[in-house]
Symmetry: C2
Subunit: 430 residues, 2 copies
């Protein structure tokens, strides 16, 4: 039996004028795809009741379920409910639960006139609010025996309702229409797409294994998908393909699925009970900021110094003014002195330092834009790597941050013999 | 006369499975909108010849021009040309210029068999290559007297051909179909969307002025568009509406269009010849990282300290251990000591410090998650603001960084009487 076909409709002039990048449709598509549905089409249209009605009716004529985002708010350009009401001939009626909820909360939101907020409670007849207790718009409508979900366009609210309400409801709708999907993203750094492609092509994987290559700067993502109703075959094929890929690509794979480089580095530091401090010049705080994205990062990150000016390199890292004068701030020697300085002053186990020329100005023939030194200082040894990164300022900064973290990762992987191999990261799904 | 209507079709399984975020459609929409066209709809479909054909024929039936991206490459999942050929009944034929170009370059790209690359030269009959000398796919087809543009899905190539080929060709197509478009985004921080809406509604603007509201966390963007063939009226209306909006929203508007808070703060610091240093606890480097995004930021940013651990607050900022013990790291007193410390040690003009509880753990009844102190130290005075930010860890961090920068902005706006008012930021377009 074919998988259930779903169409996504995103509404908003901010999307069709290109002012706002549409991230919610992509989020929905990924979660629906991973749950075993087929995405028939994704549409983006402006705040026009006629276009909204047309798109909705066309979708109902060709797919099994529809997801609509945007245009549910209180402002005058929020026209989705009006359009749905007209297109499907379902007059809007007040949802009493939402209405009483709004009135109960009016104290908290005193600045607003009642009438504006009460717009949220007027839904097309037959609509069932997804979460009437919350202050998020969003409802389900069953029309022509097909479920239609309406979600707010605000990414945070949309993502919440997608995960908590839409996916469970869809899952109960037609169990038979879902294919078992085994899917993995391998996240690869420091290996070009063509090289990844060449190595994977050499594996001669089964034609039932679908492979995709996606450069997502500064990484390459390799997607592996096996879909089948016959669970056992698909599972076995997925498992053996994962192993083969892990074997040929080795530790160029830094993580899988939703892993991030900073999360992987943090987990390694925590497992070895080591603490990191960072001295950043050209990245201006990007490395520390990424390392502290994750909760609990104070377990392994002490902090660091953004030594954008030379005076701070001296004051905070003990880099001598002689060294700065003789070798220049962007040099192997200064990078090492920064890493040693931040490690010693903060009493960290590992010091990481980066110094380089992010551009667009500041380059020279000897040290062009993109010249970056990355140094690591540990209890055992110090070392410095030199890079010539391509790209603009933003790209040089991102490549520098990612490379610095990747060097720490590779150092930690080799620090002890019983390290966590990428192959082992594959095991948790089985 | 109505503006020319354009439809955008993006093709690729990587898009409909949500693995890759579709940025090219948004790029195209923004440039087409700014050039005075209407975006009728944006579609995203998978690598299916049937769906590609359907979408193309539907678009031709309802708009004046079509832009198609993706599926033009050499691999087996690139099916656009095949689909176009079938849907529009235009057999593919080899483009001799592209073919000879490929053969001439074969030495450089030895790894690929001839047949794979020659796929690039086989285009639907009537196709005119956009840039046959380059190694980028992309062509124009005129069908039913409507232009259709086919561009590669690779963002860099797509963007290049969009700017260099598609926009000039469209511009020559039907000059009469373009409207003069005056458009501005007002970027607002620290005022809720409903309040922005209420204040703008009170202005009673002309119905020819199109207003949109877009929450883009942590900001609200207000979009103002006036489109007209009669240039003078539209321009006058746009100018007076801008002024009215600037008047009612005042310095809640921090910038316009593609401005960022960090760029605005940087420009103010540069214009006053002041230098900033930052001590960050819960934001972990986010503020410094944002401030150094822009080229030339070394003019006004000395750097700073990420004092994630208490030891670093003492070592690098001179915060006494007694103060830390008595008041706690998240306190008014420690925030002020951090700001004073980083200002004095780095010899900066202004010290900015943030300390708070980003969560999810670490909160208490007295100091719940979201409690944040932001301190500013200057030559004239020091002050501390307390916040209780809503949201998850990422949101608390972003609100803290944005609020810290906004406090610096407002301090600088009031520092001298001849400050740059938001109203003045409106003038450069006239």
């Amino acid at each position: 039996m074919a998988p259930m076909k779903i169409e996504i409709i995103a509404i908003g002039d901010e999307l069709t004028s290109g002012r706002i990048l549409n991230t919610t449709s992509s989020f929905a598509a990924r979660h629906l795809f991973d749950a075993g549905y087929d995405i028939y089409a994704m549409n983006t249209i402006g705040d026009s009741p006629r276009l909204i009605g047309e798109a909705l009716k066309r979708a109902l004529s060709r797919v099994d379920a529809v997801l609509v985002t945007g245009g549910l708010g209180t402002t005058d350009d929020d026209l989705t409910n009006e359009a749905v009401s007209k297109a499907l001939n379902r007059p809007t009626m007040p949802n009493l639960e939402i209405l009483s909820n709004i009135r109960a909360h009016l104290d908290e939101i005193t600045a607003n006139p009642v009438s504006d907020l009460e717009k949220l409670a007027w839904l097309p007849s037959g609509a069932e609010a997804l979460n009437p207790q919350s202050q998020m718009a969003g409802y389900q409508l069953i029309h022509d025996d097909k479920p239609i979900f309406f979600l707010p366009g605000v990414p945070r609210q949309m993502r919440h309702l997608m995960i908590e309400e839409v996916l469970p409801k869809l899952s109960n709708w037609h169990e038979d229409h879902r294919l078992t999907t085994y899917h993995r993203i391998f996240r690869i750094f420091n290996l070009p797409e063509t090289e990844v492609n060449r190595q994977i092509a050499s594996l001669d994987l089964s034609t039932d294994v679908h492979i995709g290559y996606y450069p997502v700067f500064p990484e390459v993502h390799l997607s592996l998908t096996v879909r089948d109703k016959k669970n056992n075959n698909a599972k076995r094929l997925f498992k053996s393909s994962c192993k083969a890929i892990n074997t040929v690509l080795g530790d160029s794979i830094y993580g899988i699925d939703r892993d991030s480089m900073e999360k992987i580095v943090g987990n390694l530091l925590r497992s070895y009970n080591l603490r990191l401090a960072v001295a950043e010049s050209c990245t201006g705080g990007l490395i520390c900021s990424r390392m502290t994205d994750s909760p609990g990062s104070s377990d392994y990150l002490l902090g660091g110094v953004v030594s954008y000016s030379n005076a701070l390199k001296t004051e905070y890292l003990g880099v001598s003014t002689e060294l700065l004068d003789n070798k220049g701030a962007v040099s192997r020697e200064v990078a090492e002195a920064m890493a040693v300085g931040v490690r010693e002053r903060t009493k960290a186990d590992i010091g990481l330092a980066v110094t380089g020329i992010a551009g667009p100005s500041g380059g020279s023939d000897a040290k062009p834009v993109g010249t970056v030194y990355i140094a690591i200082a540990t209890d055992e040894e110090n070392w410095v790597s030199k890079f010539n990164f391509p790209g603009n300022r933003k790209q040089v900064r991102e490549l520098t941050a990612q490379s610095g973290l990747d060097l720490i990762r590779k150092y930690l992987l080799r620090r002890e013999s019983h390290f966590l191999s990428p192959a082992q990261t594959c095991k948790e799904v089985f």
